[in-house]
């Protein structure tokens, strides 16, 4: 039935522009590619590269003022760029399914999950009678991995976890039995192990049905592992395209080379696989960002530390935190978030706390920072137990211990300029006068490699990476000895991530800082941490030096986490 000679989707010279007050801004400058029946293609690039715009333009759902200004989107020979609204409504859902990026915001919170699946099935004419529609909805959700679908149909999105919601969205995307599925960063908001399960599942589903898939992702490892063809985008242009392995092993464009170098998942494989090549790489030009220098720096530090073992600055013993969860009325159930956790952090080193969400790693950070009080156990910082401190002593302790949190958009007050944001800890702790504080802000901005003029600007004028630098500068303001980094690079693009990790490593060797690095991303751990504690369900299941954990993980759970790193199985002959 399908004509094998004409491709399923053919994008020709696609140009997209956004209207702004200062005129129109081009987001895509003539993008062309094809997707064959049943083929899996991935578009890779950093945010702003135009990869999501491409996905949105295909189904003609560009956000805001975006418009296709030139080119064609031929889906089975029909030009979607010029199609009428009703023609498009006909193609969406049953011709092209779409799995959006963020599972938290893409389901309507006021309708039950079942309702939202059923309306899709009805709109695409898959079934009509109420009973058939319901049956199909249960089937679709079960296929997507929701085992108790018939029971959970009546629940609302907020009663589902992120992973479950993503399954629902995949179910919705596939419920019209589309010929092409566009998956826009379908798992970037999820834990690595959940990500792997969902992607495996998606692969099986589309493979069985012969559905073509267009992946949009910033994760090169993931793209290479899942897709046959790779398209690398940069600033609205396709800079490189070809079979995945070929692109990875023999990247021609400098941007692709940088992307490969910065991807922590791939980099970590590289030091294991081809350490002898490191020497050559070290002399590479600046285009080879971050990771290589990071790895060598980490190695040097590891040698140095092995030679001079230092005092533990943080000692945590049998730390336990029990939350009471209300079950309605006055009853409550105990939930042990942190269960007899013990570890030490030697001065001037980085310890990574790794685990999936819900494993209790962030609670440990909060307990250490004194933002939550421990149920039992002790935390000693610099030899003093901090669980018994009163408010004033805790206040003083905070001078030596500062946090950097995950979301660079949420942790900066949009109404306070950068200079005052960085100076705020100084003000609160009454350090110096106005002039000396201003000098310190200048010094800090230089330390985190930001231009001094930024002091008068406001957070919304900064990029995500710049904001995270500001957060780091604010944490450094009081000259602390310890910095707690809670998923501090998880929300950033790979290239920016590499830069921030680099900055953190430099600051550590310069200022002798001690880091507690909390993350779900083992790939990042590899390049930054000296020691690793793996947490699962509130307990530490494995604890060793980074090299040991990566070389010979003892626990099955750790092995699962390691396997889940996208692209872990790909060998790159750099």
């Amino acid at each position: 039935m399908t004509d094998t000679r004409t491709p399923l989707l053919e994008v020709k010279d696609l140009e997209v522009a956004f209207r702004t007050q200062r005129g129109s801004v081009k987001a895509l400058n003539g993008v062309s590619f094809t997707i064959e029946h049943g083929e899996t293609v991935a578009i890779v690039g950093e945010s702003g590269s135009g990869k999501s715009t491409t996905a949105a333009a295909i189904i003609n759902l560009l956000p805001g003022t975006g418009q296709i200004t030139n080119g064609q989107v031929l889906f089975e020979g029909q030009d979607l760029a010029k199609a009428s609204r009703s023609q498009l409504e006909h193609v969406r859902g049953r011709g092209i399914g779409f799995v959006p990026q963020d599972p938290m915001s893409n389901l309507n919170p006021v309708w039950s999950v079942g309702f939202q699946v059923e309306e899709t099935i009805r709109a695409n004419g898959v079934a009509t009678s109420p009973r058939d529609v319901k049956k199909k909805a249960v089937e679709v959700l079960k296929q997507a991995g929701l085992d108790d679908a018939d029971k959970r149909m009546r629940q609302f999105p907020h009663q589902f976890s992120g992973g479950m919601r993503q399954r629902v969205l995949i179910g919705i995307g596939l419920s019209g039995d589309p010929k092409l599925l566009i998956a826009d960063e379908p798992t970037s908001a999820l834990d690595v192990t959940v990500q792997r399960r969902i992607l495996d599942h998606l692969g099986t589903l589309t493979g069985d049905a012969g559905t073509a898939v267009l992946f949009i992702t910033h994760d090169l490892g993931l793209a290479a592992e899942r897709a046959e063809k790779l398209i690398v985008m940069y600033k609205g242009d396709i800079v490189e395209a070809g079979p995945s392995l070929e692109v990875l092993q023999n990247p021609l464009h400098p941007y692709t080379q940088r992307l490969i170098a910065a991807a922590p998942s791939l980099a970590s494989r590289r030091i294991q696989g081809s350490e002898q090549k490191l020497g050559e790489l070290k002399h590479d030009t600046e285009t080879d960002a971050g990771s290589v220098d990071l790895i060598t720096a980490a190695e040097e530090r590891a040698e140095h530390l092995a030679a001079n073992p230092s005092e533990p600055v943080i000692q945590i013993r049998d730390l336990t935190k029990v939350f009471k969860i209300r079950t309605g009325g006055f009853r409550s159930v105990d939930f042990t978030a942190v269960d007899k956790v013990s570890f030490e952090i030697p001065k001037g080193t980085t310890t990574a706390l790794v685990g999936e969400s819900g494993s209790g790693k962030s609670t440990v950070a909060k307990l250490l920072l004194g933002l939550e009080s421990a149920t039992s156990g002790s935390i000693s910082v610099g030899g003093r137990d901090i669980t018994t401190l009163n408010r004033r002593e805790l206040f003083r302790l905070r001078r030596t211990m500062q946090p950097v949190f995950q979301d660079p958009y949420g942790t900066l007050d949009p109404l306070v300029n950068i200079g005052n944001t960085i100076a705020e800890p100084l003000k609160i702790h009454g350090v110096g006068d106005r002039d000396s504080r201003r000098d310190r802000v200048t010094e800090l901005l230089e330390q985190v490699a930001l231009p001094v003029e930024l002091a008068d600007r406001y957070p919304n004028e900064l990029s995500g990476g710049q904001r995270q630098r500001v957060a780091v500068a604010r944490a450094l303001a009081l000259k602390p000895e310890i910095i707690v980094l809670d998923e501090a690079v998880s929300a950033l693009d790979v290239l920016v991530q590499a830069q921030i990790l680099q900055l953190l490593a430099e600051l550590q060797s310069e200022l002798g800082l001690t880091y507690l690095f909390i993350t779900h991303d083992l790939a990042v751990v590899r390049v930054i941490a000296d020691n690793v504690c793996v947490m699962q369900k509130g307990r530490i299941v494995e604890q060793a030096s980074t090299d040991e954990v990566f070389a010979s993980p003892k626990e099955q759970y750790t092995r699962d986490l390691l396997d889940a790193i996208p692209g872990a199985g790909i060998k790159i002959g750099v």
Binding site: I59, L61, P63, R85, S86, E89, H90, V91, R92, G93, R94, G97, F98, P100, Q101, D102, S105, N106, L107, N108, P109, V110, W111, S112, E119, T120, A123, N124, F156, H158, L169, I172, G176, T327, G328, G329
Partner: protein, 309 residues
């Protein structure tokens, strides 16, 4: 659900006590002797005066009087008006009229406000949106009694579409003009609120996802845009009810509607303490009940707000 309602009712008790205390204190502080006022220009017999004062506990200290009053409120006895009618009877007669008027105003507000607001939100920045902004600002900035007179003059007197005053026959057709006037400023607020809410909802990812599922515009707008936009509008309805009560006092006075507002207005002018205090108490009570109901509707509209399991 039951737990939540009980908690809300318990929370309403201190509010009720606080407001009634305030009202009682203000009325108490009004100059003049209420018993003396009963006699008008005549000079009463001092013995009778003392007897009456004793009967109404007027010789007791303020706080004792207040406690007597609270006892009466709890037992549902609101006293007797100057004309000799029991206040309960007056309430029973006037309340249905005001309820009808208020309900009509709310219906007009919701239908007109939400419709115009939705269209304005969907056509952000277009002519319809801008003209709705200008008109709603006009209605918001003109005081309600001015709108009353304008409505009365043009729609009632010049065009003769409606009766200029209502009088004793407070039937639905006769109440249309007062209801429109009463709703006018609320419609203006509602338009602005709905418009903003619709624009915000349109920006949500799930709206785009709804289109990507293959749904038509005709389905996405009511089901995924309007439904979500109504949540803040409904909350506003509770606060609107307060404006409605104040507006009713003025509007009923001008259109001579025999409702709660009009009676209260007359009672304030005549200094009828029992009537003023009782009516205001009932209004506060009503306001609290309406807001509890609104919060329950809110839970129906937004399943994320679950009060109790």
């Amino acid at each position: 659900m039951v737990f939540y309602v009980i908690r809300r009712i318990l929370q309403a008790i201190p509010v009720l006590i606080g407001t009634t205390f305030l009202i009682y204190f203000l009325v108490f502080a009004m100059p003049g002797n209420p018993v003396q006022a009963l006699f008008g220009d005549k000079t009463p017999n001092p013995a009778l005066l003392a007897e009456l004062e004793k009967q109404y506990h007027l010789n007791e200290p303020f706080i004792v009087q207040y406690l007597y009053y609270l006892r009466d409120v709890v037992t549902g006895n609101f006293g007797v008006s100057f004309s000799g009618q029991s206040v309960n009877d007056v309430l029973a007669r006037t309340f249905p009229v005001t309820a009808r008027l208020a309900l009509m105003a709310v219906v007009i507000e919701m239908v007109v406000g939400v419709t115009i607001g939705l269209v304005a939100g969907l056509r952000k920045g277009k002519l319809f949106d801008l003209s709705s902004l200008v008109i709603s600002l006009l209605f918001l900035s003109v005081p309600i009694f001015v709108i009353c007179f304008i409505g009365q003059f043009f729609l009632g007197f010049k065009l003769g579409w409606f009766r200029t005053t209502v009088g004793a026959d407070a039937s639905i057709p006769n109440l249309i003009l007062p209801a429109i006037v009463l709703a006018s400023s609320l419609v203006a607020i509602n338009i602005r609120l709905t418009r903003g809410s619709v624009i915000e909802t349109l920006n949500n990812d799930f709206v785009r996802t709804a289109y990507s599922k293959g749904l038509s515009r005709r389905r996405v707008i009511p089901v995924h845009v309007l439904r979500n936009s109504l949540i803040p509008v409904t909350t506003q309805l509770g606060a609107d009810f307060g404006i409605l009560l104040v507006g009713a006092t003025v509007t009923e006075g001008i259109f001579n509607v025999p409702g709660v507002g009009n009676t209260l207005y007359q009672a304030i002018i005549r200094g009828e303490r029992p009537t003023v205090v009782s009516f205001v108490t009932v209004m506060v009570l009503l306001y609290l009940v309406v807001n509890i109901i609104i919060d329950l509707i809110y839970a129906v509209l937004d399943p994320r707000i679950r009060y109790v399991k």
